[in-house]
Amino acid sequence: MLLEKLKLVNFRQFYNETEIEFSTDPQKNITLIHGENGVGKTTILNSILWCLYEKLTHDFEQQKELICIQAIKDGVKSCRVELSFQYEEKHYLAQRSLHNSNQSLLKLFEINNSNYKDVPNPTAFVNNILPSDMAEYFFFHGEGVSNINATKSGEKFRRAIRDILGFRLAETAIKDLKEINAVWTKALNELTNLNYEQNELVKKKSIYEGKKIGLLEKLRTFKEEKEDHETNLNEVLEKLRQCSSVDARKLQKEIDDLVAKNSKLDTSINRARMDRQNLIKKYGWIIFGQKLANEALDFIDEQSLKAKLPAPYDASLVNDLIEQQKCICGRELKRGTREFENVTNLIDKADNAVIRSKLSKARSAGSNIKSRFSDFLVELQKVEENLQELDDDKRDVVIALETKQSELKDIPVEEVQKLESRKKLCNEARSKAEQNIGAYKRSIEQCDKDLIDIDLKLKRCGAQDTRINKLTQYQDYASNLIKLCEKNLNQYEKDSKLIIAQNVNKTLQDFSRKDFYVKVDEDFGFHLIRENGQKVAKSKGENLLLNLSFVSALIEFAQMRSSASGDFLVSGTTAPFVIDAPFGELDNTYKKASAEFLPKRSRQLIFLLSSSHWEGTVDEAIRDKIGSEYILISSKNSVQGEKPSDKLTINGIEFIQSLYSQEKEATFIKRVK
């Protein structure tokens, strides 16, 4: 933004129309406006602030009385400020007007070849160029804000600086991505609620999986218990085999043999049962098919007997009759007659090679089934007999085993008695463990069945699952983009702070008489720091110097970035620096320093100076860079008397700043360069 022209129309002490043309020459980038106290320097600064932001500096008195009093006396009821400026090689006119005491109105026009095009939403547009929160830095009231950085900090300040640094696009992107993510989260939540059944199933699955783990653990425990009991039992049996009683040893030997025999029998019985099962598997269909086969064979035989199957007439005979159109009885068979149709229908049931083949196969299959059913009965009989035999053997062995064990138990030897007693306990415990193992195995099987059932149901919810997965993927993507954007912004902010701090430090090194450096904190608050890291209490002059160097560094940085590509950040901009009475708190050394570095750092500098601020060192420092120069002249009704004329000499020419006994009480402006 480069300011081109300011036009005040009956604004405060500026009667009628007052125009100031600002220098836009980069070599002579200073516009100097002279004015003694109370003449209107601060009014000029405030007219710019008011025009762009409807703001006034806090020490601007009688803020509601903006219309020129002299004009009111002439019957005028409105005032207006117009500010022409350049932005990104386009020309604009901002115009704010006030009628009576109503709300003021801002209009903005883009000027193209004398055509004025209305810019919608002018406040947003202006804020986009120079944020309102930073206005008091760019339109700087030295006397009123010498301590500005001490009071102005925090998120709002940081926000404004980030706008100047061009973060707005990326920050809006983050905001948008977060909002989009919220939309996806909402959709995901709705889907999840809709998919209540799925959630319940997932929970249920988790419970069942946990339950299965518990059951398997218990099963393992019981198996270990069983093994322990078997070990104990084997120890007892071993002791019985080697005990002092001959009878006991003999009986135990016999029992061992019987147990081995019983075990073999169990294996044989299991095998026989397996054979029976396999037999049923092999011939099972015959059991059911046999009845059907009998019925089918009976039907074929009956139909054959009645000479209906196959049909008593041959297909070739019927075809001959149709071809010759003559019935076997000699009658004519005309196409389209009922007789012809009847004979034609006979073909479907007529005897032919195919029907004969099918009949033959049906007879063969039926006979085969009957024959195999007989085989099945024979084989089954054998298996059943074998099983019966084994069962009988087992019964004998079990009886013999019980008898022997009873005999062993009755041997009146204490050692044997004790061992028998232990054996009984071991057997009972092992049996109990086996029961538990069985029970837990069944529970695990049931659990597996339930899990399969849950999985099937979950599969049916697959459609929602896909949508949920997709939304989750979207969320992850947006979150990663937000993180990346924030990371980039933080890095840019860090870099920017470093560059700005370096620029401020360079100014301090060059011009401050103390060895301090500046540290920029998280919210862009800047502090003077000693070499030992301690904060320094700033004098008013030092603070003013610090503020001036900070804003000029910011302006320089924004300008430096004006040619940036803008892939990520908004390109930088050229900003004006309007300074009202900046040197009040500065001594001559600091005045000279500021007057030297400010024009170097700013593309456009507008000084509003009283003679005490300007004369001497400042004039010497800036004279060559002045592109435009004005004097504010106060016109008064009163008689001069002893009052001074406020003379000002510029380049050897004397100007009077106060005129007395004038018709109008107002401020006028005179261009001197």
Partner: protein, 71 residues
């Protein structure tokens, strides 16, 4: 992504570290595209479009990008 897939991805990265660069540049490109959308909607003309339209455009862009990535 299950454990096996994670391990495979890590092994791939170990063998072909350039994969990470590709991922990064893909995200960078997406971010730049979003910024372009923001710029078009915020500063495309003198009049900016509505927030809802802008967000809808970005959302569509993200969904399309992910669909293309899948296919």
């Amino acid at each position: 992504m299950d454990f096996k897939e994670i391990m495979e991805t890590l092994n791939d990265i170990k063998k072909h570290p350039e994969i990470i660069d590709e991922l990064d540049s893909e995200m960078d490109k997406a971010l730049k595209d979003i910024i372009k959308i923001e710029r078009r909607h915020l500063y495309g003309g003198l009049d900016s479009t509505s927030v809802a339209t802008r967000r809808k455009t970005i959302q569509t862009y993200l969904e399309d990008t992910l669909k293309n990535r899948e296919s």
